[in-house]
Symmetry: C2
């Protein structure tokens, strides 16, 4: 099993109030670089800060890393439009960060990134992939893509209160700027990505198609963004088996349609509960309160832990250790 | 333990007769990209060919991969001037391939690459590094650097017959083009690297210094090139403990001075014999005949296997499997 983590940025994340994947809209540009480092090394290396939400909720990268400490899976980090340098080793798919989807073109390189993803998956020797992402603003671009495809699903949020009305406004403005009506990009995933998507989603959907074509097992690790990836794959005409592994925090978000969308798109939904309920750990409390919810492949990592027979109590212990060492590190740095 | 593999190119490798790390001088530009893929995935992915010498001896990457199949170490591949794309995830240190050392400047970016290596090692959380390299032409640039430093050691070769006279001529021309006499760059490693080195050696020497400063264990995995790296570190004024782990094929090369140089530079030499002697496997036979000898961290990988208590018979079995699957893959591709 190889854990493929696609990381990148979109200017869409800097729209005030859209993303909680960073302490401020500007700091969201650092988040994917730091997330990759946390998964790879257990802490930020070149990145200067630990990604937290505006209220201090730590990035789901700590959960993915905590599982990795227990399970020890191989990673492959894809630079799909990073805006900041990372010390995590990456494969580049040669793209800039995405533009604000309210511009006429959101991802100039959508076609080449999609094709690179497909070609890479076809050539890798692995037969089992778990695919995660880190791109602040990603649920908004997911809504954009779903709207362009004419797939009428709502999306979740890293905020406790989903700013879904704001997202709808941004998407409406984006469709207008792209000269699209809802559904105009049906069966044309690259058009949907180019007009309304982001580079990470371009890579993930292409990679998924390539992996399906080799007969590999594909597990999309995430919530709304992976629903959008699944929709893109289906609109490209590929109907192979796809799992979507996520957290209860996303599935229980009534402002999003993850469960029904997965069913309609024929994606096998796997929900793994890390059982944070009994804990009074500050990080776990935030997740229970509905912050962050998912990201950096958290749901897929939890599924891997469950599959390997690791008790969730051990994952939680590991999470406390990773979190503690991050805070320590942060104290040293200040 | 983290296995750091620095890969890159220098135009020096295209001088006819210098390097056997490729079927032809031009194909040496593909070798480091393919080597990184073999260590990472067990076979070339984006790279189109398996690196072999002009006579068909397979790259030492297959030995390093064979050990990795047994021991399962973490890798960190550094793009220190790759000339061809690789599907291995890499950390870039922002450099072009090196120029022919017969030009006045061999590595324009020597200072920044050296500093990047140092900064990266200082920030990584690991406490134990094995550092390998793949750069065709690297023994010639090693001789260039040693000459610039005034360290009077001869170097080995990937050829069965070391073209040492050719290397000396190339180095003499390089010193002249750089306006240097032997020893003019003593105690000035960056000057030696910039005038006569390559980007991989610039990274490795900087990284080693950074790692020494954090108190990490440092094992340089290689022969003559790692002697040059050790000399650069000593000339920078750092006298911390450094191991140099290599193969008997390099140490028994009478045209090179690995053992005496290690002693004079206070590098702890560890030689691990993969015991190819009894085998009639074509790849192992080539090594016994003195081809390739070392590279891609082969000697360090063998030391890791020995340290982990893996019998060399198991490493050889693993080597046969890796080699066989490479050939199969190559048949499919043709």
């Amino acid at each position: 099993m190889r854990f493929v983590l696609a990381v990148g940025s979109t200017e869409t994340a800097t729209i005030d109030g859209i993303s909680a994947a960073g302490a401020s809209p500007e700091s969201t540009f650092q988040t994917p670089s730091a997330d990759a480092e946390i998964v790879e090394f257990g802490r930020p290396v070149r990145a200067s800060t630990i990604p937290v939400s505006p209220t201090g909720c730590p990035t789901p990268a700590v959960v993915t890393r905590a599982v990795r400490e227990c399970v020890g899976f191989s990673t492959l980090v894809i630079d799909a439009g990073l805006a900041a340098s990372t010390a995590a080793p990456t494969v580049s798919v040669e793209t800039e960060p995405g533009s604000d989807i309210r511009e006429s073109v959101a991802v100039k390189s959508a076609q080449t990134v999609f094709e690179s993803g497909r070609a890479l998956a076809e050539r890798l020797p692995d037969t089992d992939f778990t695919i995660g992402e880190s791109i602040p603003g990603g649920t908004t671009t997911a809504l954009g893509v779903l709207s362009a495809l004419g797939a009428p699903y709502s999306v979740s949020s890293s905020h406790r209160q989903n700013p879904i009305e704001l997202k709808r406004e941004v998407v409406a403005a984006g469709l207008k700027a792209s000269g699209l009506e809802r559904g105009d990009a049906a069966h044309d995933p690259v058009r949907a990505l180019r007009s309304m998507g982001d580079p990470v989603l371009s890579f993930v959907s292409g990679f998924t198609i390539g992996a399906l074509q080799t007969g590999a097992r594909v597990r999309l690790a995430g919530g709304s963004q992976m629903i959008a990836a699944g929709a893109l794959v289906r609109h490209a005409g590929f109907d192979g088996p796809i799992e979507i592994a996520t957290t209860p925090f996303v599935v229980n978000d009534d402002s999003a349609d993850v469960r029904s969308a997965a069913e309609e798109l024929n994606l096998d939904l796997v929900v793994t509960d890390p059982e944070f309920d009994g804990s009074n750990h500050p990080a776990m409390q935030r997740y229970l309160e509905g912050e962050a919810k998912e990201g950096v492949g958290m749901g897929g990592a939890l599924a891997l832990a469950a599959e390997a027979g690791i008790p969730m109590a051990r994952v939680r212990e590991s999470l406390e250790t990773v979190y503690h060492s991050l805070l320590e590190d942060s104290d040293h740095g200040s």
